[in-house]
Amino acid sequence: MLSRIAESLFWLARYIERAEDTARILDVNYHMLLEQSQQAYRLRWEPLIIMAGEEKLFGKLYDEVNAENVFEFLAFSEKNPSSIVQCVSKARENARTIRDRISREMWEDINGLYYTVTRFHAREEIAAGPHRFCDKIKFGAHRFHGVTDATLPHDEGWEFLRIGWSLERAEMTARLVDVQYHNLLDALPSVGAPDNHQWMAVLRSVGAYETYHRQYHSAIEPEKVAEMLILHHQHPRSIRFSASEVQAGLRAVSGSGPGAYGNEAERLAGRVVERLRYDRVSEIFKQGLHSYLDELLRMCGAIGEDIARTYFYYAVVA
């Protein structure tokens, strides 16, 4: 497989995942906030911007952090490189350069999603609220996963897709937990008891609300939510599960057996997976949630760089 094609597959999957995750977070937060007072309203839009890592850019473009501005910025803005529309456009651009290598169904699906997304009129959607729009993105991403699974040979190309979406998902969940946890516990000390509604929203945004209740049979407690999103071994959006998927994909490409690694990316992925397998949530909090997640995020970043070095880039050798 051409290096350029492997790279395009990797990024195609990442962009679709980023669009889906952003849509999920946006949708759930919006509806949760409808039930809140005006005071809380202003406070809780900020984490979404922090999560996207675009506080500076947002500050430059808008005067106020409110529902309309955040929605526009995260969903439609051409200036925000991670806005949903930008992610879908970039996913399509990547798909276009490799459309001979993906199935016809995959291409038509991504192309269809692109036309759906670019034909939304931002103003009307903002007035109508984000649900309809976010739903399209979510189901578009689900369809992409389904069509890919059902029509693309599960060869090394498929593995690069899996590595791409799993790595992106691990990072997005880590950012979600990090930002929301501190927002709720630190930024709102006056509220006193942890805000259950907000935690419900966090769980819903990763589709883990039902799983949580089956698992813990208890009221929603911040530590347990963190445990579930970081350490759960089966929930498909937990960091541990996503990291295992990255590791499995890397091994499938290189052919490394269990316990061995063939390159730096695999070594780091193995280290992340092992940590998440044996760490306890109490230990995580002892270390400090933020520093723990920050470390994970940095390792994920390094895995991405090492994948590029190993498989995508050719050093010029004279």
Binding site: M1, S3, R4, R104, E108, Y314
Partner: protein
Amino acid sequence: MVNPGLFEGYETGAFYDEMFSSPGQPRAQYTKLFQKLGSMAPEQFEERRKLADLSFLIQGITFTVYSDGRGTERLFPFDLIPRILPHSEWEHIDRGLSQRVRALNLFLQDVYGKQSILKDKKLPRWLVYSCPNFRREVIGVEVSRGIYTHICGIDLVRDSKSGDFYVLEDNVRTPSGISYVLENRLVMTRTLPDAFQACEVLPVNHYPAELSRILRSLSPRGEADAQIVLLTPGIHNSAYFEHSFLAQQMGIELVEGRDLIVDGGIVYMKTIRGLQRVDVIYRRVDDEYLDPLTFRADSVLGVPGLMGAYRAGNVALANAVGNGVADDKAIYAYVPEFIRYYLGEEPILKTVETFLCANPTDLAYVLDHLPQLVVKAVGESGGYGMLMGPTADRAKLVDFADRLRANPRNYIAQPVVGLSRVPSYDPSTGNVAGRHVDLRPYCLYDGENVTIVPGGLTRVALQPNSLVVNSSQGGGSKDTWVLRGES
């Protein structure tokens, strides 16, 4: 009595009409289609048309136009009413094109080899050496199996006066459009299945397999291990859809220049498992961008060292480098002579009378008769650099006269051919009206035989009265049906 429906009030006008011999009277090959479409309500037809459009959009069958510095993707307009050719007429065209392709290939072998046609003074030496697309760099290079013109797209038009087909121009460099032939057919069979079935149309979808067979036969390392790639300028090229379509259909790798590297005279591609040798390149990059070490040094689309590997015979290129000398619009006037000289045969297809502005007597005639002529730049394609005398305003005529005097070798002139018309649907009015068409069949040459998929791309000038069919100038396309038997 057939309900004329869609074709009610249709006027055949002053031009040869492919469908009707006189108003309301379809030609033999169109009888069945007339019955099927004629009984369709306009709303029903409009509904099918929208379905076809949507299908092209979702599949991403678009081309890119550059007007505002930022490329925009456009649909290549598709007209649902097919162009139909009876079997006997197609056989005549097929024979004529095969003859022409063989002669062009022999000419290229000769002009980059012994040059006997120049020594025998059947073609002026200065005309060849002044051709901008004649490549001295490949004189004496032995190409794989002696094939230069693997793929040719030869443009034909039917003259309204005589009703005969004429060759309008040859495209033997990197002709595009075959993907539209194949996709048009697919959409057509989905949109109007009953009409298609009733007419018994010859299939076209063996094209990729035939092309793949020819490419494989060129491999310097034998066919079994042949690594074949399609070299594209990339996603921003207007024909990108076609490149990726053909690569997928043939199951070969679609590569860009940056995916390839030349080491020790061997071409490799960069894969996740290291470098892999490449044997055959179906290149859709123009000669001058292929190798910055040989041609344009500023090219980022090519592969440094590629020409060295080509000369050494370590990699085959299709089409060959330097083919542009054969489809130069001034050389075109000599192709009938090539057929006589190389094959000892009389040309089967007619060609349009051509004035070479490089000849002083021709130039004088052209300047005197500019409003009646079409003037074309010899090395251009895609409808660029053209003057349509009869419709041009005074300023444009004066401007072109100056250009002709300044650089006569760069121009030829021809009488205006009154292109035949086919009924076409106008979505803005909901009416059917005659629109001018040409025909580009795609010819594949394997060194012995020429294979032509029946029909080809019918391009249609969708603007009323326009004679320019190029997609970049507002043209569209139609499916072309060659019928299985006589009707």
